[in-house]
Amino acid sequence: MSYRIEELLITTLAPMLEGLEHVAVGAASPIPGAAALLARHRGGGRPRVSMLASRRHASFTDGARELFDCAAQGRIDAFFLGGGQIDGSANINLVGIDGYPASRVRFPGSFGSAFMYFVVPRVILFSLEHSRRVMVPRVDFVSAPGTSPSNVYRPGGPYALVTSRCVFRFDRDRGRFALASVHPGQTLEDIREQTGFDFDVPARIEQTPAPGAQDLVLIRGPVGKDISETYPDFARRVLELDAATA
């Protein structure tokens, strides 16, 4: 079965969420959202999924602070973060490039990253763009650090970095990324070319598995139907599902 890159990313992210109790997904995250819903479909209802942008899948009733309190209570096992810049120590920058406060390029801001990155055990960094513009040697502004000294309270941290080219796992002890798998059509050379930071490479390079037929049926069926409530554009454009028919 042919598939799109978004579908590959969904089936790549979903296994990272399996066996967990509760996954939260921030706003404007259709691919992580679909991955969480796919993991839930495959897990027979587990993990529980809280999608902030969704009406149906947002179960918080204590205001905007509840997501963060809930994470601090240890009730959120996985969360997704992005970054205008990401470096090899898993530092992320959501603030701006070249100068502060008067940055040459200004991003929206750090959102909850400076907190969630510390308290959610499995933070998955996700970036569609994989270029030297994003994957930098050292971020210009640390919205949230990838690692912390041992005396800093930090049950959480980076778990993996998933891009349109490959999957990196993060080794918290070594504070470095290691290439875990390369997406179909990508080469190690390409990835090195497009990545501004150094990373570990295993002796044998794995390819990211293509989406299975069963997963594609789920994604284009019940998962797509579910996600189209929150992201109708995404469902229509990527999954070719109309809200009306989905």
Binding site: F68, S110, F141, S148
Partner: protein, 269 residues
């Protein structure tokens, strides 16, 4: 009950004003009234992020400083007037992170001078916030934690679905609006409709109601969140928001937007 123009008169130039995020109760009509009045030097506090409200006030020159975890138009892209003001150093930035703003407001709600919060250590946010302090956890040795000062806004400004004639305001699950009201000195609210019964007398609606005790003034403004949506009432006006995002990319385009949709709509609010 008052009218929109009178409501925003209570927001003095230089006031600190807490605003709701785009997914909550945006008082867009009141923001337009502030622009028309030519408000100056407002110190915006985004709870914890803000979008169109902040971008428009910044573009119109009403804003002196911004405390926020993020300013963005969401799916409509970066906030262009905010971005431009940052690049040109026209506003003072107090970059924050979502739970730090909630914690600061909760400190004000509880009348304590500060609130401790996990995380943040090692973030450059801390480097640039000399009003944040790192203290030792008194209950555990060698355990540093960030202490955030209370955030007590002069004004909380938001839009809600309904109010009753006693001044109670129904916000449903949008509890950040209640936190804003508890924390702020004064709370100014625009509502879609004023209902005749007592919101607190109905056990279901009471749970989502801010008591009149915390509410300084209310103005009834139909579609007061427009062009933002109001959950359960009306969706966002996507075409209009996209048009804003397009025009606001340039100072001239933004001025055109104001002329057409803000200054020209005085009577329609």
């Amino acid at each position: 009950m008052t009218n929109l123009e009178t409501l925003v008169e209570a927001i003095h130039d230089g006031a600190s004003v807490a605003l709701a995020p785009d997914y909550s109760g945006c008082a867009m009509a009141a923001v337009r009234a502030l622009v028309r009045r030519g408000a100056r030097d407002l110190r915006l506090i985004a709870v914890p992020q803000a979008g169109f409200q902040a971008d428009m006030l910044i573009g119109a020159g009403c804003v002196g400083s911004v405390e926020a975890a993020a300013i963005t138009l969401g799916e409509y892209g970066f906030a262009p007037r905010f971005t431009d003001a940052v690049k040109n150093g026209r506003i003072t930035l107090r970059d924050s992170t979502c739970p730090a703003i909630h914690a600061g407001l909760q400190a004000a709600e509880k009348g304590v001078p500060f609130m401790p919060l996990r995380g943040i250590l090692g973030s450059d946010l801390l480097t640039h916030r000399d009003d944040w302090k790192v203290i030792e956890n008194p209950f555990s040795p060698d355990d540093a934690i960030v202490a955030l000062p209370a955030i007590r806004p002069d004004v909380a400004l938001f839009h809600a679905a309904s109010a009753d004639r006693h001044g109670n305001v129904w916000i449903g699950v949008r509890r950040e609006l209640m936190l804003m009201a508890h924390a702020a000195h004064r709370t100014l609210v625009t509502v879609e409709t004023v209902v005749d019964d007592d919101l607190l007398a109905d056990e279901a609606r009471a749970a989502g109601t801010i008591p009149a005790l915390y509410v300084s003034a209310i103005a009834e403004v139909r579609e007061g969140a427009w062009p933002i949506g109001l959950a359960g009432r009306y969706p966002a006006d996507a075409a209009h928001l996209a048009e804003y995002a397009r025009l606001a990319r340039t100072a001239a385009g933004f001025e055109r937007y104001l002329d057409e949709h803000v200054r020209g709509r005085a009577s329609a609010a």
